[in-house]
């Protein structure tokens, strides 16, 4: 069992690294061989040079920091709000029934379409970006929490009730811990969506953040700049996702270990 697992890890790691090397080689020399001009696909070395230039000249660290900050705040607030409303609706069928058409409508509406509206309201500040992130993170978290609270085995509730549990004891001892695994599944999705929300907000207006660099690079016809920015965005999203996983491993330590993968 353990030998199988370590063999899997070894073989998988080798394959992953090999794929990365093949990809980087193809990126560096592929465009030249296929006669793809650098303004379509800048090779790896050109992208790296652009990264160094952006780091010192274009204040890349600062823009990345702005985006990361907006993602973090939007994610935290959106998750808190989503979880809170999820618990309230999960425990009150009447409220869910009354609100469900509006929630559904909001869920169907593409959240990023709100970005221009928020910028009209709040100007070229960080707030509209955070607001889009909140809105986009809210739904997966809320839906997961709501479904989890609804899905708690009624016999578990009855068991607690037979011990004379109060409503708040049922929540804190049964419903809340039972909702944590789906909550974290929602948070994982939310952490990647938060980046999308923030970037769209930055694309639409403002002069800071990676989304702004994207549209700036596009305007300049600087393909390498767009490449660098996409990579930085992926790193920001990746770190956000990893943070969620780290917290999840601490909180859900009691869960049976996954057979393979983990992420």
């Amino acid at each position: 069992m353990n030998a199988d697992r370590s063999a899997l890890v070894r073989r998988g790691t080798i394959a992953s690294v090999a794929m990365l090397i093949v990809f980087l080689v193809a990126w560096e020399w592929g465009p030249g061989l296929l006669k793809i001009p650098p303004y379509i696909v800048p090779p790896l070395s050109a992208t790296w040079k652009e990264f160094l230039r952006m780091w010192s000249v274009t204040a890349l660290p600062w823009h990345t920091g702005v985006t990361a900050f907006e993602v973090l705040i939007g994610f935290i607030l959106g998750s808190l709000l989503g979880a809170l409303i999820g618990y309230v609706l999960g425990m009150s069928p009447t409220a869910e029934f009354a609100l469900s058409p509006y929630i559904l409508a909001l869920q169907i509406a593409p959240k990023v379409a709100f970005a221009p509206l928020f910028i009209l309201w709040m100007g070229f500040t960080i707030y509209p970006k955070i607001l889009v992130a909140i809105l986009i993170v809210f739904f997966p978290v809320m839906v997961n929490v709501l479904t989890a609270v609804r899905g708690v085995d009624p016999d578990l509730i009855n068991l607690a009730r037979s011990f004379k549990a109060t409503r708040s004891q049922i929540f804190w001892k049964i419903e809340f811990p039972a909702s944590l695994p789906p909550l974290f599944a929602g948070l994982r999705i939310g952490s990647t969506l938060a980046v999308i929300g923030v970037v769209v907000g930055e694309l639409v207006g403002g002069n800071s953040g990676l989304g702004y660099l994207l549209s700036f690079g596009e305007g300049q016809g600087n393909t390498a700049m767009v490449f660098v920015t996409i990579i930085m965005l992926t790193i920001v999203g990746g770190i956000a996702y990893l943070l969620v996983i780290l917290i999840e491993m601490r909180v859900l330590h009691y869960m049976p270990k996954r057979a393979a993968g983990g992420i």
Partner: protein, 265 residues
């Protein structure tokens, strides 16, 4: 004083399209202190309804239930129940699971922890107290569930098919553990089961319920010694006679192939 008493209990539920169906009708049951009584009957005869009334989760439509002479008007300290599902919380260790009821009832934590340890020791789970439920076998989980039920020190245990989800050998072990515990702690228990042999070897009396609406149609006093030794009781020649009588009452054996259509719940 009777430990557990149902007086003329009737329970009706609203069915589909405004219909009303009667789950149980005019049920009278009384359990003496330390008595173990099994309840047997066809599926859907309302056995579990009786249990829910006893534990205060349902209020009967007519009649009353009494535990330790007090009328049951809701969940109370005197009763604890155990189901076929172990209902262990996956995020709690075995010991924390056993302590669930004591925490909810805000019993003294130190004394409760000692009690939980003693119970786990008695159920051969001492070394597993820090494990999580998914790390234990079905039989161990069911023993932990029994420990949780006993940790709140109820005077009456309501057991709803507690061993029907485990394999036959584990079941024999669990029956032994239960029988020993009930005698040692002098607990009163109402046991619902589908297993005729289990009913006979674990109980002082077996009550037979009819098809819906459920009524008590027979009472068999099990006149075999050693209620704390179901393994010994199993071998008693009287067992076969009791089981034959139960089969007659339940109308099984005559038409083994005929399966009753399930009534809409």
């Amino acid at each position: 004083m009777k430990r557990l008493e149902y007086r003329n209990v009737t329970m009706r539920f609203a069915g589909a399209k405004g219909s009303v169906f009667t789950a149980i009708e005019n049920v009278d049951i009384a359990l003496d202190d330390g008595e173990v009584v099994s309840l047997i009957g066809p599926s859907g005869c309302g056995k579990s309804t009786l249990l829910n009334i006893g534990s205060g989760l349902y209020a009967p439509t007519e009649g009353e239930a009494y535990v330790d002479g007090e009328r049951v008007e809701g969940p109370n300290e005197h009763v604890a129940f155990m189901l076929q599902k172990d209902l262990l919380l996956p995020w709690r260790t075995i010991e924390q699971n056993v302590l669930l009821g004591t925490e909810i009832r805000k019993l003294d934590p130190a004394a409760s922890r000692q009690k939980a340890r003693d119970l786990l020791q008695a159920f051969k789970l001492g070394e597993f107290s820090d494990r999580y439920p998914h790390q234990l076998s079905g039989g161990m989980r069911q023993r932990a569930a029994l420990a949780r039920t006993l940790a709140v020190d109820p005077s009456v245990l309501l057991l709803d098919e507690p061993f029907s989800a485990v394999d036959a050998q584990t079941r024999i072990m669990l029956q032994h553990d239960l029988a020993q515990t009930l005698v040692k702690a002098n607990k009163t228990a109402l046991l619902i089961t589908h297993d005729l042999l289990e009913a006979v070897i674990l109980s002082d009396r077996v009550l037979v319920m009819s098809k819906r609406p459920g009524r008590i149609i027979d009472e068999i006093v099990i006149d075999i010694p050693d209620r704390d030794h179901p393994l010994k009781r199993r071998r008693d020649p009287k067992v076969a006679g009791y089981i034959a009588r139960l089969m007659d009452q339940l109308d099984i054996g005559e038409h083994p192939a005929q399966d009753q259509a399930k009534e809409p719940a």
